[in-house]
């Protein structure tokens, strides 16, 4: 999947040809303008929790299965490593389960960390981050320090329209 030769060249080429079309097709340009205006006007009518409903839903799932919010909202300075470790196992098991259900991840780079990699001219700068002595023009040659992550598949559920996504976890009241 992740190849370090011409991954970026293709998409760059695509962007060029699309730009050309807009200049030559008045009708397409009008459509694009209308779409852009529609997009600009929409965020004003949607509340932030609606725009980011899926992020809140993800938090909801991570809290439900892995108690992530409980863990991160707590001040852990006064606890022993043993206690933090015990809680971390809950977070790890539960959050991992959710990540496996909702996503499929793979490294952005196939090479092992520490290996030498070559970045050709036109590499995808979103997929490859340059560090260290960055100078000159590609192709580059360097050492892979971190293999990165890419979500190969996303299969998150949607929250029902009637629900308020801001409720990450309900308060629990036990009746006697």
């Amino acid at each position: 999947m992740a190849s370090n030769d011409n991954a970026g060249t293709v998409s760059f080429g695509k962007r060029l040809s699309l730009g050309l079309k807009m200049i030559f097709s008045g009708e397409f340009a009008a459509q694009a303008m209308a779409a852009l205006q529609a997009r600009e006007s929409r965020p004003r009518t949607l509340a932030p929790e609606q725009v980011h409903a899926s992020s809140l839903l993800l938090l909801n799932a991570l809290q439900r299965e892995g108690r992530l919010l409980d863990f991160l909202q707590q001040d852990v300075a006064g606890f022993s490593d043993e206690q933090v470790g015990a809680a971390a196992r809950v977070v790890h098991t539960g959050c991992r389960k959710i990540l496996q259900q909702y996503f499929e991840f793979e490294p952005a780079a196939k090479e092992a960390e520490g290996a030498q990699v070559d970045l050709p001219k036109g590499f995808d700068p979103q997929r490859w981050r340059l560090t260290g002595n960055v100078a000159g023009q590609p192709p580059f040659r360097g050492t892979l320090r971190h293999h990165g992550w890419v979500a190969r598949q996303v299969r998150m559920p949607a929250l029902a329209q009637t629900m308020d996504p801001r409720i990450i976890a309900p308060a629990e009241v036990e009746l006697g």
Binding site: F71, A86, A87, A160, M163
Partner: protein
């Protein structure tokens, strides 16, 4: 003709659906055959899973916001089935229905009466085990229709038009099978055939093995299927024979109904660790106990998958938001795992050992009759020994028993998620090989490659394809002989029940779609007033013919009593309390249920007893 054969595994703790396109030119692709089942994972969140946990939660009106329980096919769903039912039910156990399937085979309770949730507060609407099973099936049916028959153009593909193969434990008696069918009918499934789960598991193995199966099993082989589900242990023996050069498979024996499964194992581990936590002064509430049980399952799988690990950590989260500091930590050690699980459930026992039964107190609360001896190996020893004795005395034993103390399996097929732990398979094989060796037999070989969680559903769908003339079919017929209790005439003695004789109405090995007439005798049917029928079955008496009478049915060693029927049969014409002379006829339907018919001797009267609590009077 139906386009699909649909296999449904209606499990005690998980259900699944697999399908086979009967019109496709080639055999199906293995990975495409499981339906993803939409279900609630949290309020307002529907997710798809391959398994539907067989849990039903009955919420109170105030519990959830409007629309929070909506399903793609039902915006106004009022109850919860599946993952969220299970997880939320752990916090509200009184409104949760679990193990409904086990109640279907409960002879002490009426599975058509509203019993569940068993310990619900009075205001909760209770449902019968049959109704609960119907709701699980209905959920699966809706999931199917939502995916395949949502539009008018695809309505033809709706589940009502498809061939359904619904699996039941081999140990289900005629009444429990009939109740399962009743649930399917309630759920809107029309063309239903029942299939025993161990057979379905073997069909799944046959499908996966393809043509190579002839190399792996040969005439003379006896395959033992050990199916340990969440709540039940189901044993079957399938003999491989040859007729005119063609391999045949015959299901020759099934085990008793054992309410003992993988859930018991996780619970046993959780109770062991809970004892230690209590000793340390840490008390878990019921929700934390459930999470300890899940923790034990994970730790168990970790220890079984890595033999070098000495222990696996378990963290039980706090109930409140203070996770750090409130989390209770413990470990499952390998020593505990082996002692509680491997040695507890699969001890090394001799072939002659019998399951231990403790004496019941005079007054027991009506609840599920869980197996009293958790040792699966002991149940297995009893099964092989008893079947060996029964077959040795039968006139045409399907298996060669010359000089053998018990039935010798030559191959073994495991089914059920429990067996993801190779150590448990190895223990059973080790114990079995010891028995075989001491009796002059050869070691058993494992039929590998089964898909432990989904094999039953897959195999059931594959059986639908086999029924259309492909591949090898497993023959069987009834794995029990059936009897009806006849009261013998005797003078009334206070405090003394008249002895009951058992009249054989259906022989062992009766095939689907056949009838058996009981030779004419002087029987009278009580009509027009409340009356009671008693039924018995035997998995050991292979030679009884229809019409044979056994004395003292209630205390007979080889008979087990089934749920009695209490009813009032409609009187034909004359006054109530009439005794109508009848002939008896038994029929095993194509579907796989047993019917007992009472035909009036001098008239058109015709009563049908469907070996469950329901009864019909047809004219």
């Amino acid at each position: 003709m139906s386009q699909f054969a649909i296999g449904i595994d209606l499990g005690t703790t998980n259900s699944a659906l697999s399908f086979y396109d009967l019109t496709a030119p080639a055999a199906r692709a293995w990975q495409e055959s499981i339906l993803s089942i939409p279900q609630l994972s949290a309020p307002g969140t529907v997710e798809e899973r391959q398994l539907l946990p067989s849990f039903l939660y009955l919420p109170s009106g105030a519990e959830f916001a409007d629309g929070a329980l909506a399903l793609p096919w039902n915006k106004k769903a009022g109850s919860i089935i599946g993952e969220f039912a299970r997880s939320h039910g752990a916090k509200v156990p009184t409104r949760l229905v679990s193990s409904a399937k086990s109640w279907l085979s409960h002879s002490g309770a009426d599975p058509t009466s509203a019993l569940l949730p068993w310990q619900a507060p009075a205001e909760v609407e209770r449902l019968s085990p049959v109704e609960v099973s119907a709701r699980y099936l209905h959920h699966l049916a809706e999931a199917w229709d939502d995916k395949f028959a949502r539009t008018k153009a695809t309505a033809e593909r709706g589940i009502a038009n498809q061939e359904i193969i619904l699996t039941v434990p081999a140990s289900f008696d005629a009444a429990a099978r009939d109740l399962t069918l009743q649930a399917a009918t309630k759920a809107g499934l029309n063309h239903v055939t029942l299939l025993e789960e161990p057979q379905a598991a073997l069909y799944a193995w046959l499908e996966a093995a393809g043509d190579t199966f002839r190399k792996q099993v040969k005439a003379g082989d006896v395959i033992l299927v050990v199916d340990v589900g969440g709540g039940t242990t189901d044993l079957s023996l399938i003999a491989v024979t040859e007729l005119a050069g063609e391999v045949e498979l015959n299901r020759v024996a099934v085990g008793d109904h054992i309410l003992l499964g993988g859930d018991n194992m996780d619970l046993a581990l959780a109770h062991t660790l809970n004892q230690q936590l209590i000793a340390e002064g840490k008390k878990l509430d019921s929700w934390q106990f459930v999470s300890l049980t899940y923790g034990c399952r994970n730790a168990k799988e970790l220890l079984f998958s890595d033999p070098k690990l000495k222990k696996a950590p378990i963290s039980v989260p706090s109930r409140g938001s203070s996770l750090v500091g409130g989390t209770i930590k413990t470990d499952l050690t390998r020593e505990e795992l082996t002692r509680v699980l491997t040695d507890g459930f699969l001890p090394r026992v001799g072939i002659s050992e019998l399951p231990q039964t403790s004496r019941r107190t005079g007054l027991t609360q009506l609840a599920l009759p869980y197996a009293q001896d958790p040792a699966i190996t002991r149940h297995l020893a009893a099964f092989l020994s008893r079947q060996g004795r029964a077959m040795a005395s039968a006139h045409d034993a399907p298996v060669d028993l010359k000089g053998k103390a018990f039935v010798h399996p030559t191959a073994i097929l495991f089914n059920g998620g429990v067996f993801k732990a190779a150590a448990l398979k190895e223990r059973i094989i080790e114990v079995l090989d010891d028995w075989l060796k001491s009796d002059g037999g050869a070691p058993v070989k494992e039929l590998a490659g089964a898909d432990l969680d989904l094999a039953v559903a897959r195999g059931a769908a594959y059986y639908g394809w086999v029924r259309h003339g492909h591949g090898v079919r497993i023959r069987g017929g009834t794995a029990r002989s059936y009897y009806v209790g006849i009261e013998s005439p005797m003078p009334a003695v206070p405090g003394f029940e008249p002895p009951i004789k058992a009249l054989c109405v259906a022989p062992f090995g009766m095939e689907e779609g056949t009838e058996a007439d009981v030779p004419p005798q002087e029987f009278a049917l009580v009509t027009g007033e409340p009356t009671r029928f008693r039924f018995f079955a035997s998995s050991l008496r292979r030679d009884d013919r229809v019409g044979q009478m056994l004395e003292d049915a209630v205390h007979h060693e080889e008979l087990e009593e089934l749920a009695p029927i209490e009813t009032s049969l409609p009187a034909e014409s004359a006054g109530a309390g009439k005794l109508v002379p009848v002939n008896l006829q038994a029929a095993l339907t194509e579907v796989g249920t047993l019917e007992l018919r009472c035909l009036q001797k001098a008239g058109a009267g015709h009563w049908k007893l469907e070996l469950n609590v329901r009864m019909k009077g047809d004219e």
